[in-house]
Amino acid sequence: MIFRTPLPNTERPQMEADVVIVGGGPAGMACALRLSQLIDEHNKKNPDWPLSKENIYVLEKAREVGQHCLSGALLDPRSMRELLPGFEKEAPIDAEVSKEAVYFLTERSKFKSPITPPPMRDHGNYVISINKFVKWLGEKVEQAGITIFTGFAGSELLVENDRVIGVRTDDKGLDKQNQPKSNFEPGYDLRAKITILSEGTRGSLTKQLIGRFTLDKECNPQTYGVGVKELWELPAGRIAPGEVIYTAGWPLTNHEYGGAWIYGSKDNIVSLGFVMGLDYRDPRLDPHHVMQAFKTHPFVRELLDGGKMIRYGAKSLPYGGWFSIPPLAGDGWMLTGDSAGFVNSQRLKGIHLAIKSGMLAAESAYEALVDGDFSANQLSSYQSRVEKSWIREELWKVRNFHQAFEHGMFEGMIHAALQQVTLGRGLHERYTSHAGHKRLEQIGHLPSGGYGREHMLGPAKGDGKVTFDKLTDVYHSGTKHDDDQPIHLVIHDTDICNTRCTVEYGNPCQHFCPAKVYEMLEAADVPNGKEIHVNFANCVHCKTCDIMDPYQIITWVPPEGGGGPNYDGM
């Protein structure tokens, strides 16, 4: 197997830039838009020394803006109202939340929570499609005169003397052997004064940055969940636009963290998904299977019966919270949105924080451009902006929330209640956490049989109506990659997969990947008779493998720009 790596010894076009924003999601677009606003104001006040927007670029690996964006999604409008007052008038909003309910599920029954717990109260929030919303933001950015390079991914961080000096974009036209094809185009070296990483969850350049400067040394390890989502078209009248349902409990047991959402959108479209913590113990557990099992609960089956699944997708999300957020700025760089870990794990919301963090980074970037200073000292103003903002206020209150669930759902709820009355503190000033992949147990240490988890283990079969096998779901993600390119899921040592992992963990990549990228195929000359095979063309860019692999030998790197899912309407 040949894995993708930037082609060595290649002459690359060089391009100078003032600011390069990597990733055109909510954080990146808000950052670009805010920066444009500040430059406009500046140029009005200082007509004699204007700033140019010409050398501000947004890199987006999707073919079109928004195509790789996936979320529930509910939007807390707080930051959008600051960015574009009155945005509701023109933004694509599907519904305003009108009704909430929280249920606890057992295998056959449901129990409605008599009150909606305060963090789940969503009145005033909007049901949106993050795909449509970001597409709209992207139009605003382009109208403002900032260039978005769609179909270009950041493949490498350019670092010189411990300073981030820009980004290398992806090489185009490499074949399976990582050799140039006739249409080969080397990636560009975008040499930027400021590089802002807004890559979303588990960003690949962010990972390079954190690794290189060990930015996480003072942090709790980041912990993640993976959300598996389906969009359904239902017969009229099943669920009102703006109706929001959350569930906890079945199909999970006390030892897995997670729950489901059901959001009523307009035109009888319903967003349905299951988020589960990537810190479960049984390596055979399959988050896609959990989502399928959830739909077989009588309550959900009744809702979906006669409807049609129209789209599928999956994405990881960071929910380690405040204590997992690394330093936010350094020499030539800033981190925003999910790349930094701005998610409120109690409310399971991060879009508003991503937008706010992008705006604050833009303010610091603007000052740096005016001062002509791009040092860590200058850009650290972004760190203080975040700490003085409502981002910190909101995240501080839930700083210990997710960690409290490390020992199970019920214990977690007791801690969470305690934290609720102690302004987020709970029993300890700082609850610690462990990286989720370390909690996977070896197959040999598990009880025999399914021990009550049969419905979540291994691949889901699917009935073709309410439940689906993985490949059918992947088909509905609209994922496309050029088949003739190197594998972008870089496995650093496939021997570990075929030997140790098969014996110790039973190759959990086959199960945790929601897109059937990893398969163990029968092969003759390998010790356990099975060999890893990577169907990279199925990859929906969720990053779960990079996060959950027990040996941490998988590195997700962007494939040739333009490839990936097509999350139209998601």
């Binding site: 076009p13 391009m15 260039t147 390079f149 769609t150 179909g151 270009f152 185009k172 185009e185 560009y188 073709g464 490949l471 059918t472 992947v474 088909y475 496309k480 088949d483 003739d484 169907n535 063309a537």
Partner: protein
């Protein structure tokens, strides 16, 4: 002597590459704007017919640069000949179409003269006394302006389609043709071209096939594909496959059926060891008749098959092939 812009037109086996006319159109405009004279050069073994053709275009002069060493294209030969020529003629600007051949030798030519090359330009404009060329970046999202800062001769190539060949100005009287013998030392040519051949046309157009025998993972090993091929031959059909087979390189990618391959609608589609994931189904569900052979009775392929055989393809396929052969003979 007036400043000149020289266009090196491209010919192969005595035939003009029409993209050269686009470059001439651009060159005519540049010559007019800059007040330069325009000349053209054809290079090769014997290039008289092409030189005659170019002479009809409105140019001041056509050079036919000939040598037996230039009969077959080699980068070394072309560079040697054009180096001598441009060194003696000293044009301000040398323009060429951005063809595969030009891509091959033009960088070497520019480097040999210690000059720079602006390649794949899509346009130009005059800025003061300077020529500024436009090049595309980021797959056309961006246009970069570039100009020469070195001494002439300057070298530039234009992308195909940037100018219109049919807009080239012709002249009532043919331009004079000057024949030049190029001194090309045979030992300087380090490559020996063999016969020119056309790449075999794609052997198959699956969309036109009436009968397709398609294999999936159930075929197990590359060598077993022969079984399916034998069946396809006996049926007079084409062989095709689902993605895992082409992904493993057992069959070429142009034989792949499905969402990332071809979509076909033959009269008969025989699916051997194909489970029938939706990604495959969308590529063949339009077939008039679908026969599926699979050992897994629950394989989704049976949901759309007109005839299904639950069994071992390694038993069934050879027997079927045998029967077909018998029936035919």
């Amino acid at each position: 002597m007036a400043d000149t812009v020289l266009v090196v037109v491209e010919q192969r086996e005595g035939k003009l590459n029409r993209v050269s006319l686009e470059t001439l159109t651009a060159a005519q405009a540049i010559a007019t704007e800059m007040g330069w004279s325009l000349e053209a050069a054809v290079i090769g073994g014997s290039v008289d017919p092409v030189a005659q053709e170019i002479a009809k275009v409105k140019v001041a002069k056509v050079y036919a640069i000939e040598s037996p060493q230039l009969e077959r294209y080699t980068a070394d030969g072309y560079v040697a000949a054009l180096k001598q020529f441009t060194a003696s003629r000293q044009p301000k600007l040398v323009l060429m179409p951005h063809t595969y051949q030009v891509r091959d030798f033009a960088p070497k030519l520019a480097a040999a003269l210690e000059r720079t090359l602006i390649s794949d330009a899509v346009g130009y404009r005059k800025e003061g006394t300077k020529l500024v060329f436009t090049r595309q970046m980021f797959q056309g999202k961006f246009a970069a302006d570039v100009s020469f800062s070195c001494d002439p001769p300057h070298f530039a190539t234009f992308q195909a389609g940037s100018y219109r060949g049919d807009k080239v100005e012709t002249s009532a009287s043919a331009a004079p043709i000057e024949k030049l013998g190029a001194q090309v030392d045979g030992s300087a040519i380090r490559v020996k071209p063999l016969d020119i051949f056309k790449e075999a046309k794609q052997a198959v157009d699956l969309t036109q096939a009436e009968i397709i025998v398609s294999v999936g993972r159930g075929i197990k090993e590359q060598k077993n594909i022969e079984l399916a091929k034998a069946l396809a031959d006996a049926l007079g059909g084409e062989i095709a496959a689902s993605r895992p087979i082409c992904d493993s390189g057992w069959l070429p990618m142009d034989r792949q059926i499905g969402s990332s391959g071809q979509t076909v609608a033959p009269k008969l589609y025989l699916a051997l060891g194909i489970s029938g994931a939706i990604q495959h189904i969308v590529g063949m569900k339009g077939a008039k008749s679908i026969i599926a052979i699979n050992k897994d009775a629950e394989a989704p392929i049976f949901e759309i098959a007109d005839f299904g055989v639950v069994g071992n393809l390694f038993d069934i396929v050879p027997a079927l092939t045998e029967e077909l052969r018998k029936a035919k003979s």
